[in-house]
Symmetry: C2
Subunit: 492 residues, 2 copies
């Protein structure tokens, strides 16, 4: 059928074609069906949404993601993409072959799957799992799509954390240590999706994080590393789309996690990667055996891709560091690099950097690079290369002006600090958008407290957000006080 | 946050709130998140979609499904509905309890779940299954939601087919037989979603099918039965929404099928139901054992709900009847009721009616009610009560003027008639929207044919659709000719 196309700005998720219901019936198109739009010999696929009024019969409205499609077009019902039958196979728990995984990856990349189909893929790989072989093939297929970085050096280091722990801002400490020790380490990080800060949000407090591939190359050539936002380059477009489907369901199929992480590292040109797997109540991996299994699979898939992988299994039951929120975490980072700061954050970052240096065969101790001030100097170099102020000190970083303290209601020992509650309170306070909002933890698990002692401080840039955060705080048990033995022995 | 709300007509699937990206970031709302919209003390939940231009900051646009929401409103991020954790539990293969199933049903009914979550529910019940106990509880919960029909008579008959077979228009034959035998049988049917005709589409060729509950009651009181579209009454609103999620994925979890069918029958006030389960390649149930298991489960869940259920397991490998498409099926129906017509259609309808009459203890043979012309008279009564022409004859029903014949390319025996291909060709020809479009089968499995014999005729109302249908026909093997033994023994 012939239509007059116009652009419409609605919905960022899928390439949508808005059809009048009368035309849709004529075409036999239902919501979520696909149509082929032909213009000047080029064909584009869009996903159907209906309207009775917004678009009159004879016209269609298309979202920008379809490219600039205006004027006379021909529209017809498109067949189901091939990958849908592969997804159905996974739902029936049948192992997928390489060409089927490749079709799925291609169709996700080309936005040919609607939300239901994308959800089906993600849920199928969660409930029925991905075998080690499927995971290897999927990782390869995902790495084949999108842009790639290549480096002249034979050794390129990288790190990744599978996340789920509040604070935990080890990356801006590890990268300067490794880079200062002479190893190339171009690091792309994510922004917060459901957490109060991603590494990119934290680094953005100190300097810019959005750069083109050419700019990234320049930064890395001059400093040996970078701390940039991965979203501004297209290293793993499929991964971004899969994550968008996983987030609303809070699922993270282990095979998919491995494929996502390692395909991205492969595309970024890494050769040696340390992967941190925090485990425990509230983090993404519940138990130590599950963490060990995931670590083994990471290493096996890495081997298959010619990537050297080491995994660290770390305690993820409580936040790492004291600050939670972009500025508060950046302040912790600067303090650690300056020789002070939270000891748990320092130790974890130092150990991960140590492992990376060992892996690539560099004979320097991470602690020395930290203590000598070389790592701090390297971070300042990177901040300058990324258009920030290299003279920044922790004292320059002022958290939000509106604060509220939470005090211990009884004496005892801190038995538990809940990652999820602490993150949610920081989000309510305004993080990550309000960069100076968040939480500063005054106590950690095992600390002895007396009734009335300060447990943590909530910072906000706006009073109503502070109120919102405190209203949540009053309803949850973010920091639990117990007797000395309760801190050691948890009773369920 | 305060907003000015306006209405927008976009998307029929979920109650959408279109936010400017700037406001969404401020609210911390991502696409597919839910927001609470408060106006005059009433709170409505909507699902977030973003725009940069269509709605300016400070304003929101809401779809009609949210009710008439205009003017000043307060919007805040809504928590995840409780049912999402129950759905997560099902993904982890943990048996759900009654209150969890009830929450899922309530949240689906209130449109609180986004597409991804609804897909997760449907896929979770597919990959991990529903236990018999879960199916019973789910059926109860689904029957508790929506409108109900109640009847004075102690016995109310009903029938259902789980579908998947082309043609197969037994309902408009069974209902008149049973009603003519003195048994109340108020039948609601569906329209085609992915098939070339639903029972409601076929009946609509003869009379109206959209009525209010009060009108249905009047029709049933005067004729003992009705043949109406279920979509015009709200007997199982949750079912309709679940089907909308299943269709794009072509999945039909068995437990969900039972709950959908029986909750609807319960809401319609039925006491005795015959459920037809066609099985075989191309229909919804692949194998005889699977059909038997489904039948047993139907009966057990029926018992639990105080519904008497009998199941028929029938061959679903090829279409039933000759016509496929609304008018062509209506013509078959009239022919059978007039004493002629396709014998397979007559035999199947007669047998199902026979079983229903036996179940309710009526001492009449279905064949007699058919042969005596009572069933035809009853259908005419119903057509009149539903505002149609009661004098209609098969000859009055003229199929589409544009036709093309498909001929046998070799001599032999018809080995296979493919339901899916035949349906798809009929849809391309214009069915169900073009009511006079479709297919008329000249041959059935086992028929001997000579090269050049007519296999089937395609009818269309428009030449371009006829062409489209024939172009598909040339690419698929809708009717397969083999040697005599190939028709009996299938070689894979």
């Amino acid at each position: 059928m012939e239509f007059e196309a116009e652009e419409i700005d609605i919905g960022a998720r899928s390439p949508t074609v808005l059809l009048n219901s009368v035309d849709a019936e004529e075409l036999g198109a239902h919501p979520l069906d696909r149509v082929q739009i032909e213009k000047d010999g080029r064909t584009t696929i869009g996903i159907v949404e209906l309207t009775d009024e917004l678009v009159p019969p004879g016209r269609i409205a298309v979202t920008r993601r379809l490219g600039h499609l205006t004027g006379a077009v021909n529209v017809r019902l498109a067949p189901r993409p091939n990958s849908v039958s592969a997804i159905r196979k996974k739902l029936d728990d049948i192992e997928l072959e390489r060409h089927e995984l490749r079709r799925i990856v291609d169709d996700i990349n080309d936005n040919r799957l609607n939300d239901m189909e994308l959800a089906a893929y993600v849920i199928g790989t969660y409930t029925n799992g991905l075998s080690l072989n499927e995971t290897m093939l999927l990782t390869e297929c995902m790495a084949e799509v999108g842009e790639r970085l290549t480096w002249d050096e034979p050794i390129v280091a990288d790190k990744h954390s599978i996340g789920g722990v509040a604070g935990n801002r080890v990356t801006p400490i590890i990268i300067p240590i490794v880079a200062a020790a002479g190893v190339k380490i171009p690091k792309t990080s994510s922004r917060a999706v459901t957490s109060p800060a991603g590494t990119a949000d934290t680094v953005e407090v100190l300097c810019d994080v959005e750069f083109t591939l050419a700019e990234i190359r320049e930064i890395v050539d001059s400093t040996n590393g970078c701390l940039v936002w991965g979203g501004s380059v297209d290293l793993s477009p499929v991964d971004d789309k899969i994550i968008r489907a996983e987030t609303p369901l809070s699922i993270d199929p282990p095979g998919q996690v491995i494929a996502s992480v390692l395909s991205k590292k492969k595309s970024a040109g890494a050769t040696h990667v340390v992967v941190d797997i925090p485990y425990g109540e509230g983090s993404k991996v519940d138990t130590l055996p599950a963490a060990r299994e995931l670590a083994e699979d990471f290493k096996r898939v890495g081997e298959h891709l010619d990537l050297r992988i080491e995994c660290t299994i770390t305690e993820g039951k409580q936040p790492i560091g004291r600050g939670i929120g972009p500025l508060l975490e950046a302040r912790d980072v600067l303090r650690v690099l300056s020789g002070g700061g939270p000891q748990d954050l320092r130790q974890k970052a130092q150990r991960l950097a140590e492992i990376l240096l060992e892996m690539v065969g560099v004979d320097r101790r991470a602690a020395d690079v930290l203590d000598s001030g070389e790592a701090l100097a390297k971070l300042r170099e990177m901040i300058e290369a990324q258009n920030g102020d290299p003279t920044v000190t922790p004292e320059d970083l002022e958290p939000g002006a509106y604060t509220a303290s939470v005090h211990a209601e009884r004496s005892g020992v801190v038995a538990h600090v809940n990652n999820r509650h602490v993150s949610e309170i920081a989000r309510r306070a305004g993080a990550p958008k309000d960069t100076r909002a968040g939480i500063y933890l005054e106590q950690r698990v095992g600390d002895e407290v007396r009734e009335g002692d300060e447990l943590f401080v909530v910072y906000a840039e706006k009073t109503d957000k502070l109120e919102d955060a405190m209203s949540l705080e009053s309803r949850v048990d973010a920091v639990r006080i117990g007797s000395r033995d309760e801190a050691l022995v948890e009773r369920i």
